[in-house]
Amino acid sequence: MTRVAVLVERHGEAVAAPTLETLTLARSLGDVVAVWLGGEPSAAAVASLGSHGASEVRVVEPQVRAAAAAAAALGAATADADVLLVTSTFVNKEIVTRLALATGAGVVVDAAGAALVDGHVETEQTVFAATWNVRTRITTERAIVALRPNTTQAVAMPDAVVPSLVTVAFEPPTTREAVVAVEAVEASGGVPLAEASVVVSGGRGTGGDYALIRELAELLGGAVGASRDATDEGWISHEHMVGQTGTTVTPRLYVAAGISGAVHHRGGMQASGTIVAVNLDPDAPIFEISDFGVVGSLFDVLPQAIARIREARA
């Protein structure tokens, strides 16, 4: 049986949503072990990992922050794994690159799915600012795939068992890189941008006023995004920037308000499920990649849309 390891993403003590999606996918590939880096998971976290498919949770202590050390920790916990699945983040891409060089594994990052075909892992991903779909085979015996959030629907198993806890012996290596300061970024309430199933973004057209953007995001249970223009203006912090150099998002619904749709922005959101746009300029490129667009002022359109959604729910 194929042994599939899943690196657990966390928000503090809680298991992050993308990990539950990854576990769900992992179940279709083989026998699943979850890898928890640093500290002891809570009973609730273990139960959640188990209900989504992990038969075993491997705990690696102590917590390490440098990528080289994290790669060693992950390697210690996954030596017997045929397939390793992680969430596609900048940090994880660095960790798996190091691990792949140590183990000879083939790697695909930013994947939207993975399957076992004739004993090899095959993945799907989008490239060129999400304008092409590519199917790739990992030809090596060991495979590592970094999956984008929101590309698999997380489904709990009805007959899950409580996974066994195994502590992995690990001596952190000395690394050349030292983390000399860490300043936590406060989550702006609600879901993190990269994981959100709905993203409402505002750009230059907001003029810096994000009240309506936040209101619609909250109403739809989503996260607030922004264009590069808006973060450059200092209207909203860099953590909100959607784009190829900010956060790449693939939510079920992406709302672009007052965003023209520069190529760098499109590359960070074009693979979203449904895209809707509101913009004053009928020639804004964002309309070309939208499923539904309104040519008009977001200050007129959004309040009416918010009222209508509230009315429909009432």
Binding site: V91, L101, V107, V127, N133, V134, V179, V185, F292, Q304
Partner: protein
């Protein structure tokens, strides 16, 4: 201060791009240097300018058109350009590419020690951002990734970086591989004199044999992944309305109909 910058030729993001036999079709007329590499070039130039002495070298790996990326770096003020090209490199995955880049870096480092290799945070065509890490591992050098600021002093590089959940300050001894983001600086524009000088500058061309790299260890055959199919994503069929007082309601109805609100 001696700094090497890796640059990559990428197709213009706005241009039409295609695949041939599982590899990206690249043509010289629709591309240039990866835009994010401009930040790497700028960071290198600023460090050498601040040090008052030293050299910036631009290195690329790729087919004949890849030289455009080096020429762009020369236009920006880089003093020396190197183009590693060999038919055997075609089809390399990131690990094969890193092996070739590392061999070239080692050769330059042996001529005269380098302080830093600076790269962009990612290439805008593939955007995997794996190369800087693979290069650092191949070289067995320290690595600092995603720098939004970079300072160098007393043989140590210090960076700040913005992760989604934390702002970190990292340090590592030189020599190091550093990748910089587009927050790190504002790239300069080439002036006319530099453009003209870059046009005739001699760019050194190295082959795998020059670097002592076994051709069998790179290229398609050594790649750990193979592209099976590549297809353009189907275009969306936009439904666009002009707001005449009902735009918000229509938008809401669209979302409700799709079960999204």
């Amino acid at each position: 201060m001696r700094v090497l910058v890796t640059v990559k030729f990428t197709p213009d993001l706005q241009s039409h791009r295609t695949f041939t036999d599982g590899a990206v079709t690249r043509t010289a007329d629709d591309g240039s240097m990866n835009e994010l590499d401009e930040n790497a070039v700028e960071a290198a130039l600023q460090l050498v300018e601040a040090a008052g002495q030293g050299e910036v070298i631009a290195l690329t790996v790729g087919g004949p058109d890849a030289v455009a990326a080096v020429r762009k770096a020369l236009q920006l003020g880089v003093g020396r350009g190197i183009h590693v090209s060999d038919e055997a490199i075609a089809g390399s995955d990131v690990f094969g590419t890193a092996r070739v880049v590392a061999a070239a870096v080692r050769r330059i480092h042996e001529e005269e020690p380098l302080d830093l290799v600076i790269t962009g945070m990612a290439a805008l065509d593939g955007l995997t951002s794996m190369l800087p890490t693979a290069l650092a591992v191949e070289l067995d050098w320290a690595q600092l990734t995603l720098a939004s600021s970079l300072t160098v002093g007393d043989g140590v590089a210090t960076i700040e970086r913005h992760l989604p959940d934390a702002h970190e300050t990292l340090q590592a001894p030189l020599p190091a591989v550093v990748s910089v983001t587009d927050e790190a600086n504002k790239p300069r524009y080439p002036n006319f004199k530099m453009i003209m000088a870059a046009r005739t500058a001699v760019i050194e061309k190295w082959s795998l044999a020059d670097l002592g790299v076994d051709p069998a260890s790179v290229g398609t055959a050594a790649s750990r992944t193979a592209v099976l199919t590549a297809e353009p994503r189907p275009a969306r069929t936009p439904q666009i309305v002009t707001d005449t007082g009902e735009g918000g309601r229509l938008l809401a109805d669209f979302l409700i109909e799709r079960g999204l609100a």
